[in-house]
């Protein structure tokens, strides 16, 4: 990796120095020397096909292409001799002999490289006659909602095909024909949705002309007229940087992404690129609503806020502050989460504040805090690319975190990383794996203990690391000693050989990185699972170093931030315990209020407290428990029974339907603030458009409410809130709007000069010594039996996001993911007479839903899998609300179920 030696050479008479392996083009760009190019994209292997970047190199017989030619010591390069300029002009004129686009009607006008160079070189666009048009009536994009390919505008640079192959690794696109008949297409001209295409739109992103374009953007504005606002994507926790392209009508027309910017380098997934229709949806809430006689009526802001303040005030007066709970939101900004928990803790006076992180990574926060002292992803996304081994367990990475999936694929395909996948299903990333272990769900501890057994018995452990940096090793060793791979095989059904092989690969690689997600956390043994992974990493010294670590991938855009900012019942912002006296004092002083030092209730506990009559009022900001919580019948009953429910959201969600008052808020595209992504990077969110109707910023609403509750809260803008956060939360101490204007900073960032932290626990763990935990294997709560012979698991799919509130507004997404389904193994289906696509009912002890069957071999026999995004046939009607005793996370991943055809 470090063969970067300085190479001295001359470009246009100027002495410059570059690094080994660098191309002339890359070096020239570094030095501000412009060499026109069309087929180059820094994300791709140079192909040298457009030939526009030709330059002269002394000693070469003919001009060379700067994008492919690597620099060498003493090289003399000329980029703008007369001959070269003439040659480029001829090449451009040749390109115009196949490019029949007219800029006047082209959407790409203003962003088109061909247009730009054509102008710069003052070409004659009729120098060479146009061959006959290929009659672009039908092609592979015909009828596809996502994109349009126009071969008349295509310059055959192949960037779309290469990005699909080299970055996305989907290989959906190819050239067809040859010579001047060359066109982009799919294999056998299949419609795009019948191919391996994931609709990521990377092809559009790299197209240098208007040949590939978002279908929905056609005619809604030319690139030259767009206002572009850099912000952070509002979907998953990767935190992709996006540019919202807004036209004169205040509409988001396209989503683009800058190449070279952390963390996504211009790459986006289908949701980020095509999932923004919800922003401009006519279903958005535009005015406060108050429920009168069972019906919502529009109301003024004063009316609505007064009503809430009055009801919460009464409840607090009658039943005490702990009879009220607040659910903050992983979708909202850091500033909003901070203000929300502050309002609950001060104006209400309770620690009953939580948010949906409880349902996804509560066990991560609990487990990693216990083992390492900090409950977050230890290493950065970029480091994954250079890991020697990647162990993915319980993460459907390419579907739930597609852009991190790209880093994994890059590591395997281009950098030789060995990938181990442990997942009950044959998920997409298994294609790239050296080894796939399809363990029975809920048996992760057994699997990992057995891997550790192998590592210990084969002397592959990093004893020096353990001795120097860890404690409690012997306790863990005692448990693992007897846990042979053969015993694990009985429990997990993964062969002992495979377990041995996995252990060896993981333990002997130069660096090993663990990636996990909800397959690990959403169990009654969630915390145990996380502790086991921490054990495994410490055992081999794979933590506190580059490209190693234990890396939970966070599911929501700001679930990391919501946790960081104290939207949790046990900690103030910055993971400072509410039960710690000194900290308690610090916050009472800073906020000027009397605070409760009693731990509050968690999400599911709040719902259960309603049943017990202990919780009377609930204030929700951007959460949708009526679809996202387990055992929905029970949750919905609580929402119905609660004395008072206020909801602020962008849509009238399934939950909002139960509310007494609903407040319309801004979505991420309409406000300023910050999100913290899965790698702890605090990134800017910027207002690109105005919100609809009377909608307001969440933090402003919360401040107004707090003020009405007798606790005045006032900020001029989000930046001020972040400054207050920095003053109270040491991990955010050095972070401000100003510092993260261009690139986000990863916490801990304790002061203004701190560069942020790429990976945690470098020289010592946050808690001092890393702590091993002896973890015994415990089976899931429910087992298959005669009545419920299957085991049901739930999860995400690529196209949809969470409760579908946002993604299901997108025609692009709906064309490929119209409704829910249940996956069942071929043999089970055959036995039950179920065929693919057939209507089936799935039942558990908690409920029954109707959906359609997807018959597949990607799932094990005896198992069912349902995505949880769909309100028709909602999977959470079926899930169990048994909780992990420490983290209180429900066991979404395993429950007993039955299925029958209808």
């Amino acid at each position: 990796m470090t063969n970067r030696t300085d190479i001295q050479l001359t470009i246009n008479g100027k002495q410059v120095s570059g690094t080994n392996g660098q191309t002339i083009l890359a070096l020239a760009q570094e030095h501000g020397i412009d060499i026109p190019n069309l087929c180059n994209d820094p994300r791709l292997i140079p192909s040298g096909s457009c030939r526009l970047c030709v330059v002269e190199v002394d000693g070469q017989k003919a001009p060379v292409t700067a994008c492919t030619f690597q620099i060498a010591p003493g090289m003399v390069v000329h980029t703008d001799t007369e001959e070269i300029l003439a040659l480029r002009k001829t090449i451009l004129e040749l390109l115009f002999s196949e490019h029949r686009g007219v800029c006047t009607t082209c959407d790409e006008n203003g962003n088109c490289l061909l247009q730009k160079y054509g102008y710069e070189y003052q070409i004659d666009d009729t120098a060479f006659a146009l061959p006959e048009s290929n009659d672009p009536i039908e092609n592979y994009t015909t009828g596809n909602e996502a994109m349009v390919y126009n071969s008349d505008k295509c310059i055959r640079c192949g960037r779309c095909i290469r990005i699909c192959q080299e970055v996305q690794m989907d290989s959906a696109l190819t050239f067809k024909e040859r010579a001047a008949q060359v066109e982009v297409s799919t294999a056998f001209d299949m419609p795009l949705n019948d191919t391996t295409c994931e609709l990521c739109g990377q092809c559009i992103s790299t197209c240098p002309t208007g040949a590939l374009y978002e279908r929905s953007a056609k005619g809604r504005g030319q690139c030259k007229d767009f206002k572009r606002t850099r912000t952070t994507c509002g979907y998953c926790g990767v935190g992709c940087q996006i540019d919202l392209n807004v036209n004169s009508k205040n509409e988001i027309v396209r989503v683009t992404s800058p190449v070279g910017v952390i963390p996504n380098d211009g790459n986006l997934c289908v949701k980020g690129r095509f999932g923004m229709d919800f922003v401009g949806s006519d279903k958005r809430l535009t005015a406060p609503l108050i429920k009168r006689n069972g019906k919502f009526e529009k109301a003024s802001w004063d009316e609505a806020l007064d009503t809430i303040a009055k009801k919460l005030g009464e409840i607090k007066a009658t039943h005490g502050p702990d009879s009220i709970g607040g659910l903050s939101s992983a979708k909202c900004t850091n500033e909003e989460n901070y203000v929300f928990q502050k309002m609950i803790r001060t104006a209400i006076g309770t620690n009953n504040v939580d948010h949906c992180a409880r349902l996804c990574h509560a066990s991560t926060v609990a487990g990693l805090a216990r083992a390492f002292g900090s409950g977050a992803m230890t290493n950065s996304i970029d480091e994954i690319r250079r890991a020697g081994c990647i162990f993915i367990i319980g993460s459907n990475t390419t579907e739930a975190h597609p852009v991190i999936g790209l880093a994994v694929k890059d590591a395997v395909v281009n950098n030789g990383a060995k990938l181990i996948v442990a997942d009950p299903r044959t998920i997409d990333i298994v294609r790239f794996a050296e080894l796939h272990m399809a363990q029975q769900p809920g048996t992760d501890v057994a699997l990992i203990n057995a891997m550790m057994h192998v590592i210990l018995t084969e002397n592959l452990a990093d004893m020096e690391f353990i001795k120097k940096r860890c404690e409690n090793f012997e306790a863990m060793e005692a448990i693992v000693k007897d846990f042979t791979p053969e015993m694990a095989e009985d429990v997990t059904t993964v062969s002992a050989d495979a377990i041995r092989q996995a252990a060896r690969i993981y333990a002997t690689a130069t660096s090993s990185s663990i990636i996990y997600s909800m397959g690990i956390t959403q169990h009654t043994t969630g915390t145990d699972n996380v502790l086991s992974l921490a054990n495994l990493a410490m055992l081999t010294g794979n933590v506190g170093k580059e490209s190693t670590g234990v890396n939970p991938l966070r599911g929501q855009n700001n679930v990391q931030g919501a946790c960081d900012l104290g939207a949790l019942p046990n900690v103030y912002p910055g993971y400072q315990s509410v039960e710690d006296e000194k900290i308690h004092e610090k916050f009472e002083k800073a906020w000027g209020a009397k605070l409760s030092n009693k731990m509050g209730l968690t999400v599911v506990e709040m719902m259960h407290a309603v049943e017990e009559g202990k919780l009377k009022g609930l204030y929700l900001m951007g959460e949708n428990p009526a679809l996202s919580d387990p055992n929905l019948n029970r949750t919905r009953k609580s929402l119905e029974d609660i004395e008072f429910l206020a909801v602020q959201d962008i849509f009238l969600t399934e939950t909002a339907e139960y509310a007494d008052v609903v407040l319309p808020t801004m979505c991420f595209a309409e406000k300023d603030g910050t999100f913290t992504n899965t790698e702890r990077r605090v990134q800017r969110v910027r207002k690109a458009i105005d919100g609809p109707g009377k909608s307001r910023d969440d933090w402003q609403i919360v401040c107004d409410l707090a003020t009405r509750l007798g606790f005045p809260m006032k900020y001029n803008n989000a930046s001020e809130i972040l400054d207050e956060i920095a003053s109270l939360s040491p991990i955010y101490g050095g972070i401000s709007f100003e510092r993260i204007n261009d690139v986000g900073l990863s916490w801990p960032c304790p002061d203004k000069n701190h560069p942020g932290t790429k990976y945690l626990h470098k020289d010592q763990f946050k808690r001092g010594l890393g702590k091993f935990h002896p973890v015994e294997f415990k089976p899931p709560v429910e087992k298959a039996d005669k009545t419920f012979p299957f085991l049901l698991s739930t999860g995400r799919q690529l196209y949809q996001f969470h409760t579908g509130t946002m993604t299901r507004k997108s025609p692009v997404i709906n064309q490929v993911s119209p409704t829910g389904y249940v996956e069942i193994h071929n043999e089970d289906a055959e036995r039950l007479g179920i065929v693919n696509g057939q209507k089936v009912s799935v039942a558990t002890r908690r409920g029954i839903v109707t959906t359609q069957a997807r018959v597949t071999t990607d799932i094990g026999k005896g198992w069912l899998f349902m995505p949880f995004h769909f309100s028709e046939g909602p999977a959470n009607m079926l899930t169990i609300d048994a909780l992990d005793p420490i983290a209180k996370i429900p066991e979404y991943k395993v429950c007993a179920a039955n299925i029958c055809s209808m």
């Binding site: 096909s49 492919t68 040659l87 001047a180």
Partner: protein, 600 residues
Amino acid sequence: MAYRTHLMICTGTACVSCGSFDIKKELEQEIRKHGLEKEILVVTTGCQGFCAQGPVMVVQPDEIFYQKLTSEDIPELVEEHFLKGRPVKRLMFTPPGEETPVPNINEIGFFQKQRLIALRNKGLIDPEKIDDYIGRDGYKAIAKVLSTMTSEDVIKEIKTSGLRGRGGGGFPTGLKWEICSKSKDNPKYIICNADEGDPGAYMDRSIIESDPHSVIEGMLIGAKAIGAHQGYVYIRSEYPLAISRLEIAIRQASEYGLLGNDILGQGFDFNIEIKQGAGAFVCGEETSLIHSIEGVSPEPRQRPPFPAQSGLWGKPTNINNVETWANVPRIIIRGAEWFASIGTEKSKGTKVFSLVGKINNTGLVEVPMGITLKEIIYDIGGGIPGGKAFKGVQIGGPSGGVVPSSSLDLPVDYERLVEVGSMMGSGGMVVTDEDTCMVDIARYFLEFTNDESCGKCTSCRDGSAAMLEILTRISDGNGKEGDIELLEELGRAIKDASQCGLGQTLPNPVLSTIAHFRDEYEAHIKEKKCPAHVCKPLISYRIESEKCTGCKLCSRKCPANAITGEVKEPHVIDQSQCIKCGICYDVCKFNAVLVETGKS
């Protein structure tokens, strides 16, 4: 069992397509009929080179050469020659313009001046019998290499011999091997490029058809030299006969322990796999060829890195073409000095050319480097048919260039050809005469390369289309002032800006014809004339009434019914109906049909 006579019948693709297998059957039947089956053996050989005279057969040891045989000739031939001892004169070859047939193959001009190294076994062995090859010192070279030579010795020998790549580029073979052998990465691969794309050249096919083991043995030696254990022959699927003979040869070599593990007990392993190409011209380019073997789109990629550093599956790979490989065993047996003694200063050994076009003796010829064009065209090729004037010869296939008649004394080697704007290339030689239009021939080759461009690079894809468009309008009579200069400018740009050999050379036929025959281009553009009377839009046919006898032959033959006239009355061509096929001109016995060119 010893036979008194061997009948070496050619079963190369050309002779097979003219019925040589039927002739073989007929021969054997007649031989049996006369009870000669214990005295005369019919042997099927690969291509013997004199393809236009096929089917051909050589009677050994008499060295009598028979040609243009048909099944009907066989009873007479067997009875007269083999029973009665009277060779059949009418089936022998009579040089053009002469009347006496030449019975002995070694006295025929076409064969006389050839020097055979790559084609040394043509006509002498049955390519489907490994014993025949072994009988002619086959596999002696690999035995020598494995038992007495190191890799360095082999590379040194090949370097000293001066052998250069016969695929057209002319890169020194020994040096290529050395670079690959020094490459640190492993495993290494050997590829035989048998993707002969030039439609006018077929020496590689012919070598495989006539002597496949020479290629296998060459590859074995190369493999030993660079340390490869797996080889591929990339061959176009349009060559079924060559593929089948190669398959047989690989099978037989494996059975004899000459391929596989522990070859000749010397601890060396090597296997060969055949990969069939689908016939794209660009696959002859080595990086495209490698892509094709890998199963991805056969587009070229920028070099460096060269295949010797990073080739097949990213591993060091040595590619040579068929003819190069076939030279290798002979060099090992007879020594580098012997090989280097043949040829010119920088071009050693021989080169196989396919001699086609307006020439009397069409076929494959192997000649020593440095032989003059005149010797090839007149002594071997027998000159131009019909006493027409020689105009030029397109050498090197569609990527080559035309060498004009003024350069007839040019000694043929790599450097000289490049100096006159042509190249060795595929070794195709298309001879043209006064009736050939140089604009038309340039357009013909451009049509081919434009169609075969893979379409990856702008300069080649759009450049060839633009050049073709200009050439087409010139030959259609729509050429514009400045078109020649535009072609030159474009040609230079395409050469300068293209990534692979296809683009870099495709302007050659145009640029070289402009260089040597600019006046013909000017006549097309300025006077709307095609001096060679080829470009149809620029010519018209007219019947001279004084000469026309009204025989009706032309009007009967005219496919467009454009000719009218009463018997014994002068006929007239209706210009609006005439499709300018020239049949009337060809059939008229009174020279009454005239071709005219110029503005009509």
